[in-house]
């Protein structure tokens, strides 16, 4: 009995020490390993150039500074996401502005929403006109991996969705479902949440003269 208690205590102690050390290692990693931040790279610039054509090829538009990324205060962005998200994975990642060409003054919001599983968010670029109404929308990435959901909504119904969403300043999952005929509820919810938080960001920027 005594040996058994001793052995159990030893096991509990060993597991506790290992857990504490592992938590410390993870906390250290979390504090010092840099987090991914979206940047205005050529891939994103190419997509923006497709959403809001400059009349130039993407590389030239990118090199000549047709687009720029808005410097948003990190804390204010975190607060905005916290106050407006529909679920934990739903957030605005970055905001870009067209500064030259026919669409000068238009805004592009990069945001994500949860698709089928938490590890696989749907990421969209939503372009807004100067009145914060949706001009067009493009998928930046979709990594849903569950059988039956991969690409069904976005591949087959996305053109319908683009027509439906143009000019809108608000949207709900039921609107998308009814308009596009899509059946993949998880994807629809992810897209609706992503567009909705993008609309809220565009409206906030519009009200505050391009600042949060």
């Amino acid at each position: 009995m005594k040996n058994s208690t001793k052995s159990t205590l030893k096991s509990v102690l060993a597991m506790s020490v290992i857990s504490v050390v592992c938590v410390a290692v993870l906390a250290f990693g979390n504090a010092f390993i840099p987090k991914y931040k979206p940047t205005l790279d050529l891939k994103t610039a190419t997509m923006i150039n497709e959403l809001l054509p400059t009349g130039l090829d993407a590389q030239t538009a990118f090199d000549n500074g047709y687009f720029e990324m808005l410097e948003l205060d990190e804390k204010k962005l975190a607060d905005f996401n916290k106050n407006n998200r529909a679920e934990p994975n739903n957030k605005v990642l970055a905001v870009y502005k067209v500064v030259k060409g026919d669409y000068s003054g238009y805004t592009v919001v990069e945001a994500q929403g949860q698709g089928y599983s938490g590890n696989d968010p749907i990421s969209l670029l939503t372009a807004f006109d100067e009145g914060a109404a949706v001009f067009d929308v493009k998928v930046k990435s979709q990594r849903e991996n569950s059988p039956g959901t991969n690409g069904i909504f976005l591949d087959k119904n996305f053109d319908n969705f683009r027509k439906f969403i143009k000019g809108k300043t608000d949207v709900g999952a039921s609107d998308i479902e009814a308009t596009t005929g899509a059946t993949s509820k998880y994807s629809i919810k992810g897209v609706a949440n992503t567009v909705k938080i993008s609309m809220q960001m565009a409206a906030a920027l519009n009200e505050n003269g391009g600042k949060l």
Binding site: S7, T8, K10, S11, A14, M15, I18, S19, C22, V25, L26, G29, N30, I33, P34, K35, Y36, S117, N119, D120, S141, R143, N145
Partner: protein
């Protein structure tokens, strides 16, 4: 630690190849070997976790009570997997986008727990590190080879081989070929293998 243990550990990745001989880690092998980049990325992530978890478990082998060894191994492995996930998401976002679903699954990859239980918990730190490195390289080579074959077949229009069903077919053929070649090699170098 003797020379034979170290040599066996160093050759483990080939002679006891985790994919083609031990048939471990089949889920990520099939799921992520549909392209070379994904396969190589996941292989490297797994190899890094394998090396560091082997070292940590070997260091702690005399401290961890037998009763709680498996939960302790899982906690240690999960820590390294999370660190690897943070590093990949921070520095390689494109790769992370492709393999993010499978990185957390490295925790339950049988190769890692298998090496921890059968090797690292019984051998010195150096031998365990060599074993982890050898097995890791063996895993990278096998999953990348499968990725290359499947991507090549897919590029030739044989899209079945990019799907999981095709992955099993390719794996079966490559596994058969590998074991056939290993059999020939072992017969020719019988004395070397028995030494």
């Amino acid at each position: 630690m003797n020379g034979k243990t170290l040599r066996n550990a160093a050759l483990g990745g080939i002679l006891n190849n985790p994919v083609f001989v031990l048939v471990l880690g089949m889920c990520p092998t099939i799921a992520q070997s549909n392209s070379i980049i994904n396969a190589f990325g996941l292989g490297c992530a797994t190899a890094v976790v394998l090396v560091f978890s082997n070292i940590a478990i070997s260091l702690l082998r005399k401290v961890i009570p037998d009763k709680v060894r498996l939960p302790a191994y899982i906690v240690i492995i999960a820590t390294f997997v999370t660190i690897v996930q943070m590093v990949i998401s921070g520095f390689l976002p494109e790769l992370y986008a492709s393999i993010s679903s499978f990185i957390p699954l490295i925790v339950v990859n049988c190769i890692i727990l298998g090496r921890a239980e059968s090797f690292a918990s019984k051998n010195s730190v150096l031998a365990s590190a060599v074993d982890g490195l050898s097995m890791g390289i063996g895993f990278i080579l096998s999953i990348t080879l499968l990725g290359a074959i499947r991507q090549g077949l897919g590029a030739m229009g044989l899209s079945l081989f990019v799907q999981p069903a095709g992955g099993f077919i390719v794996l079966g053929f490559v596994m058969a070929l590998f074991n056939c070649l290993m059999g020939i090699f072992k017969n020719r170098h019988k004395t070397l293998m028995e030494a």
